[in-house]
């Protein structure tokens, strides 16, 4: 079933953290079934925006709709896969034990655990304690957890930090396969070379959206060769 309404619709969102308005009057639509990249420097408000979409951020005002429901509503809790920036898994459990626990919460079939572990190429580490894994491996455990139960929306906060290039390419291929299967993905990154791999881009700076569009649209608009330059041009113009 095709649904042309946006996967995420945000209207005039205001979020205050520590007394500072980190997202002022932000509005944004994210299309269904594609990979949208949320790009911006550290401190631009990416994580806060992601938290508002997932429904774990206290917001001051505004509207955030996700998959046709208000963000944070109970019905969404099994439809969104969420990966926080710091890997939020239990370091004193094995990879498999972590996934089995989260699968039990979702009521996901037990076959899903192996599938998720294989999807992030951790099959050889399934019985290893998470605290003995490298940083990159640990963040893949966190990513695998979000894949459980085949969520309709995957929200990934910098999922590819510290990964080797081959693995990073494989993960991006997987993101596109998932999108082709109808999953909506929102992936944040502060690395511009990842922007090229997204279908749509949202450039965020100081809590404001500087530009949206596909990589080629942004390059055309700014008459630049690569996205790094495009981002600089857009940031200076804003």
């Amino acid at each position: 079933m095709m649904n042309s309404s946006p996967a995420i619709g945000i209207r005039r969102l205001n979020v205050r953290r520590g007394g500072r308005l980190v997202l002022p009057e932000l509005s944004l639509d994210v299309r269904r079934g594609i990979v949208t990249g949320l790009l911006g420097p550290s401190g631009s408000g990416k994580t806060t925006l992601i938290r508002a979409i997932v429904g774990v951020q206290i917001v001051e005002s505004g509207e955030v709709n996700v998959l046709g429901e208000p963000a944070g509503s109970e019905a969404l809790r099994r439809r969104i896969g969420y990966v926080t920036q710091a890997p939020s898994v239990y370091s004193d459990l094995t990879v498999r034990q972590n996934l089995e626990y989260f699968a039990a919460i979702l009521g996901a079939p037990s076959g899903g655990v192996k599938e998720a572990i294989d999807a992030v190429a951790l099959g050889g580490h399934a019985n290893q304690m998470v605290r003995t894994l490298s940083g990159g491996e640990t963040s893949r455990v966190s990513l695998a957890t979000a894949l459980l139960g085949h969520p309709d929306l995957l929200v990934l906060d910098e999922p590819t930090v510290g990964l080797d290039p081959v693995l990073r390419r494989d993960l991006w291929n997987m993101f596109h396969e998932l999108a082709a299967g109808g999953t909506t993905l929102l992936v944040s990154s502060h690395v511009m070379d990842e922007a090229e791999r997204c279908d749509d881009l949202v450039l965020l700076r100081n809590g404001r959206i500087v530009a949206t569009g596909s990589p080629s649209e942004l390059r055309e608009e700014t008459h630049t060769e690569d996205l790094e330059e495009a981002f600089l041009a857009l940031a200076e113009a804003s």
Partner: protein
């Protein structure tokens, strides 16, 4: 709330403990060791050892589970796993009861081993039934767990969480009547002790140990049960779906 998720949570907490051999060993072996020391501190004063020994079997779980839960919950908060859980289809009660189940089980093992050492090897003598002391010990474990869970929300670091032990547990032990009968304390201290849950937990244990199984014991047990429910409700309010 969903029994499947509650049990999965209890299983997960137990699995974490099983991987942490040192904590398990400390939780299970330190109470018998302390009782052994106490036996020889009060050498020749068997009466004193008998008077405080049996209630202590039921108070150790309170202290251990308070500490273990405060640190476990603080780790859930700082590692982001709590945020993940709160974004998933799991009820707050699943977390509370999951932890409760896991730690009550651990407390029962702890209290059983302590009882075997105390009553079997150290010659601790009690008039009352040992099984009742074990039941009260399990209740105290739940009390310690729920208080630890609630208070952990006010600790930002593990240093702070550990200091909550001397701050919230030691005064309760001092005022519970274990060392000095409460009626011999200054009035102000006695009033304060009336408001502390461990006072009732200790009194119930002392009555059980003295085989005084009447109305008073029932009331004490009910007060402790009420405190557990209150602390769990307060603890649930600290598990937030949305944070700043």
């Amino acid at each position: 709330m969903n029994p499947r998720i509650t049990l999965a949570t209890a299983g997960r907490v137990l699995r974490q403990l099983r991987h942490d051999h040192r904590t398990l060993a400390l939780v299970i072996l330190v109470p018998p060791l302390l009782l052994t020391i106490m036996k020889y501190v009060f050498y020749g004063q068997e009466e004193t050892f008998d008077r405080i020994g049996a209630p202590l079997v039921g108070i150790f779980p309170f202290v251990s589970m308070f500490l273990v839960t405060s640190i476990a919950m603080l780790r859930e908060r700082t590692s982001g796993t709590l945020e993940r859980l709160m974004s998933m289809p799991l009820a707050k009660l699943d977390i509370l009861l999951g932890y409760g189940l896991a730690f009550t089980l651990l407390a029962l093992v702890q209290a059983t081993v302590t009882s075997i050492v105390a009553f079997g090897l150290l010659g601790l003598d009690t008039a009352g039934p040992v099984w009742l002391i074990l039941v009260l010990a399990a209740g105290n474990a739940l009390l310690g767990m729920s208080l630890g869970l609630f208070l952990s929300a006010f600790a930002q670091t593990e240093f702070q969480a550990v200091q909550f032990m001397p701050a919230f547990v030691l005064p309760q032990i001092l005022l519970a009547g274990l060392l000095v009968p409460r009626e011999k304390m200054a009035d102000v201290l006695e009033w304060i002790s009336n408001a502390l849950p461990l006072t009732y937990a200790y009194e119930a244990l002392a009555l059980a140990a003295a085989d005084d199984l009447g109305r008073e014991l029932a009331i004490d047990a009910l007060v402790v049960a009420g405190c557990i429910v209150l602390a769990l409700v307060l603890g649930a309010t600290t598990l937030r779906r949305r944070t700043a």
